[in-house]
């Protein structure tokens, strides 16, 4: 490609032949206003606000910077008196149509327009066509188009009706510089800001994800809906985006496995009297956590559904925990995260915070001190399990509020506490497929949480050698405990690896192939899947490494072909005889 020389506002520069003036100016840091331009779309050149003066020899032309290809020797003036005069008039024209649009008003102020000569119109749309083009050129939905011509031109869907082709991607609203497009039905949005889902179709699963790479959510990605878009592809400088990739299942041979499958948040819909999912301002712990996150949908702002800042917040403890109807166990973390929430709400909004608790369980290091600090911060604690959340007011103070009905067991009275927002300190539950995982790994699973080999002596090991557990899959616990357990599990694995060999059980079972009839009764009985069938020899064989010598197979074998080493019948009888020696005598 040819390199050309040109001058912009007196600055001599070089560029590739036919690069647009706008691109060159932007590289030099020269500001040219644009309205209908978007880097992802072909230059459109209709708003004309990027008009600049171009001199080539004696010829002077006014051109639009966004699509004018620079050629050798041109001189561009981006802020000459003529440019300013033309832009000023264009802005006045835009104001005659859209007199109250911020982006236009800001530009107008920049160009010294105090009151436009053609008056101020009430429209919002400056007809820049970004929405139409993004819908057709990027999204490929072709839902939006221009209708009528001249002064009556407008952007609309076909016949002004809701189009079936609209996938509610929201791209049009996103690119609109004036905010003229609003999405009516938020729930239908593709890029829905779910409380727990990703903000965009492309996201890094979580901040600490390894590998730290973004993934595409097939469900909400526009490309997988229309076959177009691929904006990510265009903006990725290293061309790392590949929409053709498919999910693959990989087999990895390992010598040990640590299970850290985590927990599931208790679904408060099960407690219908709390109105979760009915009242928009009743949030679960995780929902609040997301809202409170600086990278969340509100940017860390605590707000009600209507965008207002809450003046009072109630936090209900033990939701789904210590509950006869749901989980009887204590989830161990809710008290402390509820206290954290209370503290943050106080700090960020200054709202009144009420905690409704059964017992405060602040057992960890520094926890109790934190509780006391909150007491001093004027967070209210009401002892009693909340009975109901309602929006039905009984008096004026309660109007428009959520009312928490609770028996205050300290004063022995039923109270109604009106608040703007309720946070349910939801408990921890085993993941839904915990039992399946347990089966896969041959470990046992109590009430959904995996069972450790020994509660005191082997808290991270399981009954199966080489399978370890860590974190909340073993039982509710907070982060320090989880980290400690994870460290322990990791070192347990590490010690196996560093030894380079494993000790196997000495007391295993063995099959006498002479006696084995090949009935395979034992095959399915082995809890450790250590028994297989040799199709060639038609006899059962036992894997010595896997066998733990439990003897189940030996006891079950109808042909007495399985011998439990060190626990043979003879040895057992001798032992019994020895035990009964005195009795016999």
């Amino acid at each position: 490609m040819k390199t050309i020389k040109l001058k912009i506002d007196g600055i001599e520069t070089e560029a590739e032949d036919r690069t647009t003036v706008l691109t060159i100016a932007q590289k030099l840091g020269i500001k040219i206003p644009t309205l209908c331009h978007h880097p992802l779309l072909e230059p459109y050149g209709v708003c004309r606000i990027c008009t600049v003066e171009v001199r080539l020899g004696k010829r002077i032309r006014m051109v639009t910077a966004c699509n004018y290809p620079a050629t050798n020797g041109v001189e561009v003036l981006t802020n000459s008196p003529r440019v300013r005069r033309d832009r000023k008039m264009i802005l006045e024209w835009m104001m005659a149509r859209c007199g109250h649009v911020k982006v236009i008003e800001d530009l107008a102020a920049e160009y010294g327009i105090i009151e436009p000569r053609f008056g101020r119109g009430d429209d919002d749309c400056i007809l820049c066509g970004l929405c139409v083009r993004v819908c057709s050129d990027v999204v490929g939905a072709n839902v939006l188009g221009f209708f009528n011509r001249g002064a009556t031109r407008e952007v609309s869907t076909a016949y002004g009706e809701t189009s079936e082709k609209c996938i509610a991607c929201g791209a049009c609203a996103y690119v609109c510089p004036t905010g003229a497009i609003r999405i009516e039905n938020d729930a239908a949005l593709v890029r829905q800001e779910l409380p727990l889902g990703p903000l965009t179709p492309i996201y890094v699963p979580f901040l600490q994800a390894v590998p730290h790479q973004p993934v595409i959510d097939r469900e909400s990605c526009i490309h997988f809906k229309t076959g177009e878009c691929k904006v990510c592809d265009k903006v990725c400088e290293v061309k790392a985006v590949d929409h053709t990739l498919e999910d693959t299942i990989e087999n990895i041979d390992v010598g040990a496995v640590i299970l850290a499958t985590g927990f599931k948040q208790f679904d408060p819909a099960a407690i219908s009297e709390y109105g979760s999912g009915i009242y928009p301002n009743v949030l679960t712990g995780l929902e609040f956590e997301k809202m409170n996150s600086a990278s969340g949908p509100t940017g860390g702002q605590i707000m009600l559904k209507d965008g207002e800042i809450p003046k009072s917040v109630g936090i209900i403890h033990c939701v789904g925990s210590r509950d006869e109807r749901n989980n009887k166990y204590c989830s161990r973390v809710c008290c402390m995260y509820a206290l954290k929430f209370a503290h943050l709400i106080k700090e960020k909004t200054g709202a009144n915070v009420y905690n409704f608790y059964i017992d405060m369980r602040c057992f960890g290091k520094g926890y109790e001190e934190f509780y006391h600090r909150l007491l001093e911060e004027d967070v209210r604690f009401i002892r009693g399990r909340a009975a109901e959340i309602t929006n039905y007011p009984l008096n004026e103070q309660e109007a428009g509020k959520l009312i928490i009905r609770v028996e205050d067991t300290l004063i022995g009275e039923v109270r109604r506490v009106p608040v703007d927002m309720v946070i349910l300190a939801t408990g921890l539950e085993p993941v839904a497929d915990a039992a399946e995982i347990a089966r896969t790994f041959n470990i046992s699973c109590g009430n959904g949480f995996f069972t450790e080999r020994h509660p005191k002596l082997a808290p991270v090991s399981t009954a199966t050698d080489g399978i370890f557990i860590a974190g909340t899959c073993q039982g509710p616990k907070d982060i320090p405990d989880t980290v400690a357990q994870a460290g322990a599990a990791a070192s347990a694995v590490q010690s196996l690896i560093s030894r380079g060999e494993i000790e196997v059980e000495a007391a295993t079972s063995a099959v006498d192939p002479e006696r084995c009839s090949g009935c395979r009764i034992c095959n399915t009985l082995c809890p450790l899947s250590a028994i297989s069938f040799d199709e060639e020899k038609k006899v059962t064989v036992i894997n010595d490494v896997l066998c733990k010598g439990c003897g189940t197979c030996a006891a079950a074998c109808p042909s007495s072909a399985i011998l439990a080493r060190h626990f043979t019948d003879e040895q057992l009888f001798s032992e019994i005889e020895g035990v009964l020696y005195d009795v016999r005598a």
Binding site: Y44, D86, F146, R149
Partner: protein
């Protein structure tokens, strides 16, 4: 070197069919034989108008008129007249004994001042018969172009002829063809030729008439263009409002295909080419090249903002050569009769550089306040006065000429002081108007120039596609201002504001239609500023047109109470008994003018409105 004698041999269609070319060649040979080649020049001229007696030969400066001169007569004529100086009586025209009761066409200025090139076959051949066209020397040029000329030679011939685009821009056709051919070769993409028959200017019907009277000339021109540029595909983009023209084109295409003049292996030359007709939906903006391409592709007809021409990236991003109907219709004649013949008509010396002048003829549709409305073809360089007063027959009802609007709605209005200006591309542009596609609207002294500007701006506001801000909003705001001026509510600052709006539209609009749209305002501001001032400062309309600024009165001196006006008035604003002076109720009057039409005694007049009451 000067020749002492010129022998003019008619080479009009009529005489050529009487074999005048053979006569001319024979005369030339004979002159050479007699050693007169340095003294006598034989010139093949256009039609002398006396086709019935052809071939016609005129010897100048003697002014002797011979008719029916065949090749065999050449030796005798040369011997007798040119050598011996005796007139050849037997070949001289004898007028019929009885004088014709009606004037000859040549005596009628409307016909006399015209020069028919593009319209040569109008009124002469049946447009629905290809044989008629062939008989009128049609499809002779493609023989030359297909078998005896290389594409480069064709392009060079068109360039040397100085043919400039008749659609409005006046871009040299040969240069465009060359660019298109090069772009196609350079990129290895097959180019396309397109004929723009989307004539949208109000009052313009040149292209419609050409297609209706001689569709094959357009087709032949396109075949030659396709051969020069290297196209296999051609389109004629015609507006839906021209059903007859379209029908005739369809028939003509069918006939040409039957004769093998379109399709594969045209006339055995190995060239493939066919033409498809595409109908436009009647949007003015679709006459603009990029909008036309968009419409051709099936998209909304809107111009695109690109500083790359359609000749390089046009229809489906292929190099596209777009010329209008009249341009294409000129092509066969240029190839047939040579660039020199064409460039001898018109202004400037275009042989070296087609930008140097305006060669050939131009078809105009002449409408408005003029006696002979119609379609005319005149050589470039003719004056506006000749067109309007000689050909057009002047202004009807003894009114005064005020202005002529050329170039369609985005052209300009030229005043009387410009009547002696030659009509060519560059003079018109310089005067603030343009050639456009050739619409010409004549206005008399009862025209309000502010109202005219308002009318054209209103038309353009309707027709603006609305894509770019300056055109959409600039026209709308201009119209608002013009509306209030014509309603007597203009502000003193309005003239400057109009001027500023217009200048910025010229700077900033996206397509040529937008940048030329303020022309009606600019040209009327330039030549008729006093009318704006009268409207704004005195609340008066000098043309007596703007309804808000005039009122009707009945002159009691003249009114004889005939009651004709009462019957003519649709709103019953005139009262009065028969035979007594009538009275007009100003409150009811809607100023429609029906009473003025009805009054036989010119008793009803428009006067400036009095604001005292």
């Amino acid at each position: 070197m000067a020749f002492r004698t010129h022998v003019l041999v008619c080479a009009g269609t009529g005489c050529v069919s009487g074999n005048s070319y053979a006569t001319a060649t024979a005369l030339e040979n004979e002159i050479f034989k007699k050693g007169l080649a340095q003294e006598v020049q034989v010139i093949r001229t256009g039609c002398q108008g006396f086709c019935a007696e052809g071939p016609i030969v005129i010897v100048q400066p003697d002014g002797v008129f011979y008719c029916g001169v065949m090749a065999k007569d050449a030796p005798f004529v040369v011997e007798e007249h040119l050598v011996k100086g005796r007139h050849v009586k037997k070949l001289m025209y004898t007028p019929p004994e009885e004088k014709s009761p009606i004037p000859a066409l040549k005596e009628i200025p409307f016909f006399a001042k015209q020069k028919l090139v593009v319209l040569r076959n109008r009124g002469a051949i049946d447009p629905e018969k290809i044989d008629d066209y062939i008989a009128a020397d049609g499809y002779t040029a493609i023989e030359k172009a297909l078998f005896h000329m290389t594409p480069d030679q064709i392009i060079s011939e068109i360039k040397r002829s100085g043919l400039r685009g008749r659609g409005g821009g006046g871009f040299p056709a040969g240069v465009k063809w060359e660019t298109c051919r090069h772009a196609a070769q350079h990129r290895g993409v097959e180019p396309v030729v397109v004929c723009n028959a989307d004539e949208g200017d109000p009052g313009a019907f040149m292209d419609r008439s050409i297609i209706e009277s001689d569709p094959h000339s357009v087709i032949e021109g396109m075949i030659i263009g396709a051969r020069a540029i290297g196209c296999k595909e051609g389109f004629i983009y015609i507006r839906r409002e021209y059903p007859i023209a379209r029908e005739r084109l369809l028939k003509a295409l069918e006939q040409a295909r039957d004769y093998g003049l379109l399709g594969t292996d045209i006339l055995g030359s190995g060239m493939d080419f066919d033409i498809e007709i595409v109908q436009g939906a009647g949007a003015f903006v679709c006459g603009e090249s990029t909008a036309l391409m968009a419409s051709l592709e099936g998209n909304a007809g809107e111009p695109r903002a690109k500083y790359i021409h359609t000749v390089e990236y046009g229809y489906k991003n292929r190099p596209t050569n777009l010329n209008n109907v009249e341009t294409w219709a000129n092509v066969p004649l240029i190839i047939h009769r040579g660039a020199h013949w064409f460039s001898s008509m018109g202004t400037g010396n275009v042989a070296e550089n087609p930008w140097n002048g305006s060669s050939g003829t131009k078809v105009f549709s002449m409408v408005g306040k003029i006696n002979n409305t119609g379609l005319i073809e005149v050589p470039m360089g003719i004056t506006l006065r000749e067109i309007i007063f000689d050909i057009g027959g002047g202004i009807p009802s003894g009114r005064q000429f005020k202005a002529v609007q050329t170039g369609g709605p985005s052209g300009g209005c030229l005043p009387e002081s410009h009547l002696d200006m030659p009509v060519d591309f560059d003079s018109l542009t310089e005067a603030g108007s343009m050639m456009g596609s050739g619409g010409m609207i004549v206005m008399d002294d009862q025209t309000c120039m502010v109202d005219i500007a308002r009318y054209f701006i209103a038309f353009l506001t309707e027709e603006s596609c609305g894509k770019c801000t300056p055109c959409r909003e600039g026209l709308r705001t201009s119209l608002e201002i013009l509306d209030r001026i014509t309603q007597g509510e203009g502000q003193p600052s309005d003239v400057d504001l109009l001027q500023e709006i217009s200048e910025i539209m010229q700077d900033c609009c996206l397509c040529a239609l937008g940048t030329s749209a303020p022309n009606p305002v600019l040209s009327t501001l330039r030549y008729f500023k006093e009318e704006y001032d009268a409207h704004i400062n005195n609340r008066q309309c000098p043309g007596g047109v703007c309804k808000e600024l005039i009122e009707y009165i009945i002159d009691p001196e003249k009114c004889d109470g005939c009651h004709a006006c009462v019957r003519g008035c649709a709103v019953a604003a005139i009262m009065g008994e028969v035979k007594k002076t009538h009275a007009l109720d100003k409150a009811k009057c809607v100023k429609c003018g029906a009473c003025i039409e009805a009054c036989k005694r010119e008793a009803i007049r428009k006067i400036p409105r009095s604001y005292a009451a």
